[in-house]
Symmetry: C2
Subunit: 453 residues, 2 copies
């Protein structure tokens, strides 16, 4: 601990001109994210903290910090909005927490492409783009608090993935500029396929200082809820919508009763005992959408243009990881899983789990495109008893051909599964972080090289 | 024959104020379409003609004509651009040919929806919309000559269907206004599901006087050609592109050698012996597209922004039914088929046909979404010998699970197959055309009711 402290002292001397915070309370606060979603991770991470907080507002600050960390052998963990929910930005080995939220400028915007700094909040990005007719192709349900860089480095997809697939699909990240962690940091532009090297790498493969993203048309979106008699009917209604390629959509979310009973502000739209389908549909597709869900036996209980300004709750804040949050708000005895059901028997395998687990698990699905096929992922809310039982529930899912990206572990390898980028992130890490100082402990297969310190 | 002539005489007396043409040469010219694509249909239809041509410029003209036809028991066949290729607008029983190309106004345009009269040419429609950032979701390769109404009433999909599916998918036609064929014609608005009643009905279920269509973002599109060593490689490369949901696309067309040898103006881009992949890709997706096709073993031989103005040939005019046309220009001994390959073994079944038929068939495929799945249709160019052999080739395809929409017959029932709308067109016809005078002979299952004439 003393040794580390003197390392930090030396580091600070090198950081003249870079905004730093050393107050332990403030550093600790900025060392945490939503890992408490997982009772397992909560145990493991609740006492972890960085030692210094750097508040970068420019790429020059990032370069200076990276150089200093390399010279002094200090770990560096980047932090965006801090909404990751498996401790992605928790600095397991202490050191520097590099907050990049001050780097929030849009470099340029040309029709359907934008290039921005990583610290821009996703809602601010869209607010800027929408008047020109464009918006982000996809965003996490944390759009109103998360950063662009944190989404690319720590997320996987979300609202919009029913149309565009996840961040792993080629074309969904056009380019990234990164700073390497070396005594003389390099600035590298990664384009097209190469940009996948930083996708969901938890900041272990370079510090992102700019991202170039393809955009989608900014339709006027409508939040709409449809009630069904059973979770099976909601899944089938959802599939009819998801398969209807002529219906422009951003969100198709079947949610099994009793999960909707936790959505207090939506009480009116969530009749007792009914399973729901939560959707965002383009205004131009609302009429055919209604015909379709009615044919599938649904009843529309809510319809309102998506509103994201302060004071409103957009429907997507009941979807993706937010569904779990709605439960955790009132009952911390629950946790969740992240599943991907096989495209060719998605409904069948999902219903089998509903059958097996009964009320130990509240069903929640998200239709997404994956590898060119329409399927759904699932974020079932699980009643937590023991770690052993949780691992057993995962195993039963996997035995049934359902992939589980385990959200109760901190490493990329164990946690990401189907969310994993199709790129040699491991090999690339050796090039850009030869000392293994970037967010150490998250890329399990990469062992820190022992240096001269 | 005399009886008919007197019917027409009476009809003409009722058509005061409506522009009519009776010159037999001009009427005959406007009674034909591209049925000569099929040697079978060419035999059957080459001598057919209407008796009067009406050139409507308003819905009032349409109503007056419909009323007069009902009163005098005269068949009425609507004609748009006349580019149908199975005699859709050929008046099998003579009577009135109702040309609606003079009805070409845009009623209104709001963000992502347009409402227009049926006679507007599809290229004019897009030229008007694109400056506002929107365009038609899909169009036939005849965009520069075909009408909106003719596409909806006679077509099925085309450029854009790789993203949006065909016209049969819910949401791709928002509404249609039609005029019934009755002594006192009614004007009916068909919305959402109900609009499918006029989709690909060849004008047998009402005369369309307005269409409300959902739009797509007007990306800057790039025409791009990739050469592959084999048709199998072109299909697999095409599938990789089609499955990449992050790549915004409008056209993904694998074409097997020697078909490209007929594309004279593309000589430079069509190396001897190579199979091609012809694509339209959004500018924002070109980099990841290139990485993808290179990984699939392709070589880019052509790349140019899509240009549709007179004097240019957009790449889509080598695709869809235009591929066949490129061959027919120099060799009328060929004809074609329209196939749909099963989504789960599309490439396998396509290659089996390539194997079986050798050079009797030049392979041509079009990736499309169908019922929520990515698959491809095919328009193989077939060396024509006899009608019997053609029917045998169709049967062999069908035996292998490939659906064939036979383009060598004039009836909806026999010809449309997978292109058929999901609506009770037959029942609806009884309501809107009780006398069976709309394009008689095209809806086989509907027998004309014998009236008092
Ligand atoms: C309620 C809730 C809902 C959620 N919904 C979704 C969802 O729908 N989809 C989804 O994908 N995720 C979801 N998440 C997870 C998380 O919110 C998202 O991944 C989010 O985009 C993270 O953004 P952030 O700015 O908060 O990143 P942070 O949590 O700050 O960081 C995430 C990771 O990225 C790294 N990082 C951040 N910035 C950089 C940079 N500039 N360079 C290199 N590395 C960097 C961090 O080190 C960390 O490993 C949800 C989480 C919660 C709590
Ligand atoms: C080279 C070539 C390429 C082609 N490519 C495609 C393609 O990619 N996709 C595709 O789907 N088709 C294609 N086709 C077929 C045809 O071009 C299209 O269907 C086209 O859209 C027809 O439009 P049109 O205005 O020429 O209609 P027409 O040929 O004039 O009419 C087509 C049918 O619609 C009816 N009709 C026309 N207007 C009305 C109206 N207002 N009310 C009621 N009925 C009406 C007619 O009676 C007729 O039955 C192609 C044809 C050729 C020759």
């Amino acid at each position: 601990m003393l040794a580390r402290t003197s390392r930090i002292e030396n580091l600070l001397q090198d950081l003249g001109g870079v905004p730093v915070v050393t107050d332990p309370q403030r550093v600790r606060k900025r060392s945490r994210d939503f890992f408490w979603y997982s009772p397992v991770l909560n145990e493991e991470l609740k006492d972890v903290s960085g030692e210094v907080l750097v508040e970068a507002t420019s790429e020059a600050h990032v370069i200076a910090t990276a150089a200093a960390c390399a010279r002094h052998g200090v770990p560096l963990t980047v932090r965006g909005g801090g909404t990751g929910n498996y401790g992605q930005c928790v600095p397991l080995e202490g050191g520097v927490v590099l907050d990049i939220m001050g780097m929030d400028k849009i470099e340029w915007h040309r029709a359907d492409v934008v290039r921005a700094e990583p610290g821009i909040r996703l809602n601010k990005l869209d607010d800027t783009l929408r008047p020109n007719g464009w918006e982000s192709r996809m965003h996490p349900s944390t759009k109103r608090t998360a950063s662009l860089g944190g989404f690319i480095a720590g997320g996987s997809g979300g609202v919009g993935s029913v149309t565009w697939g996840g961040l792993v699909e080629p074309g969904n990240i056009l380019a990234a500029r990164i700073v390497t962690l070396e005594a003389e940091p390099r600035v590298i532009e990664l384009r097209a396929d190469a940009a996948q090297k930083i996708n969901r790498a938890y900041g272990t493969t370079g510090i992102i200082t700019a991202l170039e993203m393809p955009l989608a048309p900014a339709y006027p979106w409508i939040d709409i809820i449809v009630a069904f008699d059973s979770v099976e009917a909601a899944l089938k209604g959802g599939q009819a919508v998801a398969y209807a390629d002529g219906i422009a959509k951003k969100l198709v979310t079947p949610i099994g009763w009793p999960l909707p009973s936790y959505f207090t502000p939506l009480k009116e739209a969530a009749p007792e005992g009914k399973s729901l389908l939560l959707c965002m549909i383009a205004q131009n597709s609302i009429e055919p959408f209604k015909d379709l869900v009615r044919r599938a036996g649904g009843t529309i209980t809510h319809e309102k243009p998506t509103a994201e300004e302060p004071g409103s709750i957009p429907l997507y804040e009941y979807c993706w990881n937010h569904s779990t949050l709605q439960v955790l708000k009132s009952d911390r005895s629950y946790t969740y899983l992240q599943c991907l059901y096989p495209a060719d028997r998605a409904i069948e395998s999902a219903l089998k789990m509903v059958d097996i687990f009964g009320d130990e698990l509240m069903p929640h699905f998200e239709f997404i495109r994956f590898g060119g096929k329409m399927t759904f992922s699932g974020l079932p809310v699980v009643r937590y008893t023991t770690r052993e039982r949780l691992w057993e529930i995962i195993a039963i899912h996997e035995d049934n051909g359902i992939m589980v990206a385990n959200p109760h572990v901190v490493t990329l390898e164990d946690g990401s599964r189907h969310k994993r980028a199709n790129a040699d992130q491991f090999g690339f890490k050796g090039e850009v972080d030869p000392l293994g100082l970037l967010n150490p402990g998250k890329m399990r297969s990469f062992l820190r090289r022992s240096g001269p310190f």
